[in-house]
Symmetry: C2
Subunit: 348 residues, 2 copies
């Protein structure tokens, strides 16, 4: 498949300009742009710039509020609730990350339940912000029903993301950003397009039966069976119940729900100060040592070195900051149409 | 295999008496007994009463300090460090759970890093204590190296337990208590004893190659490949680095290390107050509704109903409180020998 490479800077300027033209407030547009670009630069294409057309539809349809009136309430020394007023999850999540850092500065840890939010893209954006402030960052979100219920035949809980980011020495933070399914639904779509079989143990058909035909897969299997299903539940408890938002099948679906329907998503964002436990210097030094011990472990296949979470994204970042962000032809064309519609220049 | 059923009460009295005779301080002996009995009653035999002989060796050998001098330091409104002085993990973990609850009472959340600890048995004991105090409880521990490093050929990180317990209406708390491997090593041993093949995707041999021969399996595979490996790392960061304890292969091994060697384990215990986010009544009501919606989901196999985490343990508890805790002959014999050695009556 041919790809067109566009520099992160050009794409960033384009997206920000389009969002502003679409009536998105300056601060909100800034977070959305930064989140999308960071995600694409890190190689997580499913949650990056390719979602721009979808989000613009959300603004137009009334699903996403471009000019939110946040309401934050500190509820204890270490906790708070953020009403995101149905704006972009990127802006809501980043506001929450900043509040979590503020609380942690004072109280050792900070934990923000975000409600009335929308899709926040890659969970890493928020946890990395916290890790870049020298704290351990955790970001979680509920999502619409997608993973097969363990022992059931339908999806109920979402493929809820769990992100855990931790600062270290001399490199970007460690960052585990995972969903609770074995593979993403994007991977299923890719196998469909390429006419390939799926491996066993990744998806099930309409009746809940496991299948390797990607065309029949309508729900994803959780990692470790009841374990991934249980992890989804844990995230659901924090992101749907502690936030007061709908859960599982009651969450309006990202693509299927009408574009004037609010998503009513919830997120849970935590910051943990390292120096409440160990000297930051010692912690970071030991952590870097731990990661390097792992990276020099003997590899099973000599062509595939041992890595730690976030290493592939660091490699992508190095490459994409040089070569640009790859757009597929249909994404490039969609951006061209958006450029016309919003009268913003898009140079590929 | 024939099993001998002994009532939880009789076993509890026996274990407590033996521990006291072995010189374990009263409060410590109480926690160890309660933790072991609760774990066996919940059906988690691998971490229950059968470990008594191992722990007694630890006390005799000097690995476990029966009379600890805890040192607790509150390091911020929501955080603290507990030096467990090498006592039983059960006592250390429970001390930490109580401190976490105290901090959360004041600051919304409480997070305790425990260091200089030893094996704490089932993580559920501590998270359930917190959930029984109407808070969300999280308990984590490092463990010695057991899971195959993703893309590597050796174990480095442990099969670190993650427990998440949450109060609800009209039943014991929800409780997800999982390790990061697909199956436990006990399961491998069971397949060996029964002459059965292991399923694929659960274990690897000495060279790191996946195998289904349980006799060749020396390390466990993590759930979801790099995901379970990443989750183990997240737990390791909190339990080894934030506590200042050794990590991965540097942790003295539970069974292989000499019995005079301290384990130097670390735990991380968190309590989150629900009413800092939602009314407790509304939260619990919605959570019970969510669990019941899941339990009435159509089952894939009509003989295997859909459950949520902790349901199998609740069923075991109902049964075992009536029938007693099943001991295998060799466990029963070991208890008889202990009864003789410590001059404590053991009635089977």
């Amino acid at each position: 498949m041919s790809e067109i490479f566009v520099s992160a800077e050009k794409l960033s300027n384009f997206i920000k300009s389009v969002l502003l033209k679409a009536g998105v407030r300056h601060d909100v547009a800034g977070y959305v742009t930064e989140g999308l670009i960071q995600t694409s630069v890190r190689g997580v294409d499913s949650h990056g710039v390719r979602l721009l057309p979808h989000y613009l539809k959300g603004v137009k349809g009334g699903r996403i509020n471009p000019n939110p009136n946040y309401r934050f309430k500190k509820t204890s020394a270490s906790t708070g609730m953020l009403d995101a007023d149905h704006t972009f999850g990127h802006a809501a999540g980043m506001e929450a990350a900043k509040r979590a850092i503020e609380l942690a500065d004072e109280a050792g840890t900070g934990h923000i339940a975000v409600y009335n939010s929308s899709h926040f893209g890659a969970a890493a954006y928020y946890a990395l912000e916290i890790a870049n402030n020298d704290m351990i960052g955790i970001s979680l979100s509920n999502t619409d029903a997608l993973i097969k219920t363990y022992a059931g035949k339908r999806p109920f809980l979402g493929n809820n993301p769990i992100c855990f980011a931790v600062p270290c020495n001399s490199e970007e933070p460690f960052c585990l950003d995972m969903a609770t399914s074995v593979v993403t639904f994007n991977k299923i779509r890719q196998w469909r397009e390429e006419g390939l079989q799926a491996p066993s143990g990744v998806g099930a058909d309409n009746e809940g039966a496991e299948t390797t035909d990607p065309n029949d897969i309508t729900m994803l299997l959780p990692i470790g069976g009841y374990k991934g299903y249980g992890l989804s539940m844990a995230v659901e408890i924090l992101c749907s119940l502690l936030t007061g938002m709908p859960y599982g099948p009651h969450i309006p679906k990202m693509f299927e729900a009408p574009m004037n329907e609010k998503r009513l998503l919830g997120h849970f964002i935590s910051a943990i100060r390292i120096d409440c436990f160990q000297s930051k210097d010692v912690f970071k030094k030991r952590f870097s040592q731990l990661m390097n011990e792992l990276r020099t472990e003997p590899a099973l296949n000599k062509d595939i070195p041992v890595q730690v979470a976030g290493d592939p994204e660091k490699k992508h970042t190095r490459e994409r900051l040089k070569k640009g962000i790859p757009l597929r032809q249909k994404e490039y064309d969609a951006f061209k149409r958006i450029a016309d519609e919003y009268a913003v220049k898009f140079e590929g």
